[in-house]
Amino acid sequence: MLKALVIDPGKCTGCKQCEMACSLENEGVFNPSKSRIRVFDFHEDARFVPYTCTQCDEAWCQQACPVNAITTDAMGVKVVHDNLCVGCKVCTIACPFGTVNYNASTGKVIKCDLCGGEPACADACPTDAITYRDVEQSGYDKMKVWATRTSAGTESHGPNTPA
């Protein structure tokens, strides 16, 4: 059973606890700049949008990696292997969603790996704007949302996690 992060910006209050939790879980520090999830703050519209990797089926980052340092695990998650990553950053320009970032302090790239199946951001989110759910259950809702905003199925891939 594949699970995915389901993000509902309508429920996000911009508290950024997800960024803190992600950074602590993955980097051992409270440093939102090292978080793999980022909350975008559109204060003019009073709107907050949490944003992270959607674990593409055939991922651009994985295909662009010259040394096989990004692989797909049994859960469909695209994982960066630090021992193989040379820090060439090609994945950071190849990912059209901008969700693979370079970490200058390690010389490697970082991306969301769903914390090995227990995403800290979802645990930390107090309003259920970020939930970790069965893909089968969330898939239909996702499709419904996208059907209303894209050109009626002519685009096989939407830009990112729907609202």
């Binding site: 700049s33 949008v49 055939e58 295909q63 662009a64 040394v67 193989l84 950071t92 200058a104």
Partner: protein
């Protein structure tokens, strides 16, 4: 059905894997041009600086990967293609029949018209074998001259500088990476490198390379010393990867001298690089990175239409039926111009390999074009460029420059769509620039915000893709992996 793929780089390997996925029963043969497992040239600088061993450059890391996918691996290269008989002649004289052929033979470094290129101690930095030679010579403190500060030159620059050599880089253009970055960014890179102790000479042409210490320079490459056969390190050395290669190897050094008796003592006595303006630069090692050209020589007489590279249609088929081309050797479609062009970068090679393979096994897939893009780390200063970074007539430009902080953003728009970008000192979410350009995303009011504050790119991207419904197709897109 026998699919034969010439070239074991990213395009060839991606094609082989894609064929296996979509044609479970087909016979697949991958013919390599080098006596190595499929590896990535892009990883060579990291091998040189000791970040990885040779195994770390391999394109696939799982043991038995090719066997498990029933991809036969054959040692080439191929010397002749007979498209009417659908047969290949390999360098060892053997022949190989194919039903569908993919040419993914990549490129090789250009040899600029400079005398002395064949001297021991002068190397390109393109193959693992080149890397082994460079690792022997690039010892801490020795003077090294790097010819060319293009994209590849700059990646090698970083590796050489990290190896601790005394580095001088000579570039013909007026700035560093002239085909990737504009004057502002190129000059930022230059100042950065100079502050880190690298000597940068731009607008300079190398006239000759000669042995130091009064020996007669050889007049022309044709008449030059016998080229030392690329020396293959022993199996033992290869097993232990780069570490054993970087260790002092006196046997190898004397091996050089024996092979080139005319230059006994070189490179121990060193080389002199003479520039057109008369300037002389001492060097224990000269690395030439003056650009690359497609490997198409073996196609002479095959009837396959070639220009700078192999001509392909939108399905990556060549002028001859059942023959396809992908990667650095192919003139695929440039997304920005709609024209066929050489975009010799890793992600494009992968796209080509993927699309060609789908078409080879009957899954008709039109290529909508690849986006030119690069990212470069020059001693810690990270730069990137995407698409039509030089802009178009009638378009608009937004820039942000902070010379002190070494930060630069330049965005180029056509109407309210981003068509090109370059950045220095900015790494977070830069992939969004690709996303915006490649999907021809209409930015609406966010274009005006970006004109005022180019650094708001991530915000603009998320705001646009997460808000207003898009009506109608958003423009051409590259074929996405299914």
């Amino acid at each position: 059905m026998h699919h034969v793929i010439l070239g074991a780089g990213p395009a060839g390997v991606t094609a082989a894997e894609t064929l296996r996925k979509h044609a479970p029963d087909a016979q697949i043969t991958l013919v390599s041009g080098e006596p190595e497992p499929p590896y990535s040239r892009m990883a060579i600088p990291y091998l040189l600086e000791g970040k990885i061993g040779e195994a770390g450059t391999h394109l696939r890391q799982t043991d038995g990967h090719y066997d498990a996918k029933r991809i036969a691996y054959k040692q080439g290269p191929v010397s002749k293609v007979d498209t009417s008989a659908k047969a290949l002649t390999l360098n060892d004289g053997s022949t190989l029949a194919y039903d569908k052929l993919l040419i993914a033979t990549g490129a090789t470094p250009v040899r600029p018209p400079v005398s002395g290129l064949d001297l021991p101690g002068v190397h390109t930095c393109w193959t693992l074998d080149d890397a082994r030679h460079i690792a022997e010579l690039a010892k801490p403190g020795v003077p090294v001259v790097l010819v060319g500060a293009g994209f590849i030159g700059c990646i090698i620059l970083e590796a050489l500088a990290k190896m601790g050599v005394k580095l001088t880089v000579v570039e013909m253009g007026d700035r560093m990476v002239p085909r990737m970055l504009d004057e502002v960014a190129g000059n930022m890179l230059r100042r950065w490198c100079e502050e880190k102790g690298v000597k940068v000479v731009t607008g300079a042409v190398v006239e000759s390379i000669s042995p130091a210490g009064g020996a007669q320079p050889k007049p022309a490459p044709e008449a030059a010393a016998p080229t030392p056969e690329p020396k293959r390190p022993g199996f033992f050395a290869r097993l232990f990867g780069a570490k054993s290669e970087t260790a002092p190897a006196p046997a190898q050094a004397t091996g050089f001298a024996e092979e080139a008796p005319g230059f006994a003592g070189a490179p121990e006595n060193g080389l002199t690089v003479t520039l057109k303006d008369g300037q002389k630069l001492p060097a224990a090692l000269v690395v030439v990175a003056a650009g690359v050209k497609s490997n198409i020589g073996f196609l002479d007489g095959s009837g396959i239409d070639t220009g700078r590279g192999v001509k392909v249609d939108a399905f990556h088929e060549t002028s001859i039926k059942d023959v396809y081309a992908a990667g650095d050797v192919a003139e695929g479609i440039n997304l920005s111009t709609g024209h066929n062009d050489m975009l010799a970068i890793q992600p494009v090679a992968v796209e080509h390999g993927y699309i060609a393979a789908l078409n080879m096994c009957g899954v008709a897939t039109r290529h909508r074009g690849s986006l030119n893009m690069n990212v470069l780390d020059t001693l810690g200063l990270i730069s990137s460029s995407f698409g039509t970074w030089e802009g178009v007539e009638g378009g608009s430009r937004a820039t942000m420059v902070d010379e002190k902080a070494n930060r630069y953003i330049r965005l180029e728009f056509d109407g309210d769509r981003l068509i090109g970008a370059q950045c220095v000192g900015l790494t977070d979410h830069i992939g969004m620039l690709r996303g915006m350009i490649q999907t021809h995303l209409p930015l609406g009011k966010w274009k005006d915000k970006l004109m005022e504050s180019p650094a708001r790119i991530p915000e603009a991207y998320v705001a646009v893709v997460q808000s207003a419904p898009q009506v109608g197709p958003t423009g051409p897109k590259v074929a996405l992996p299914a």
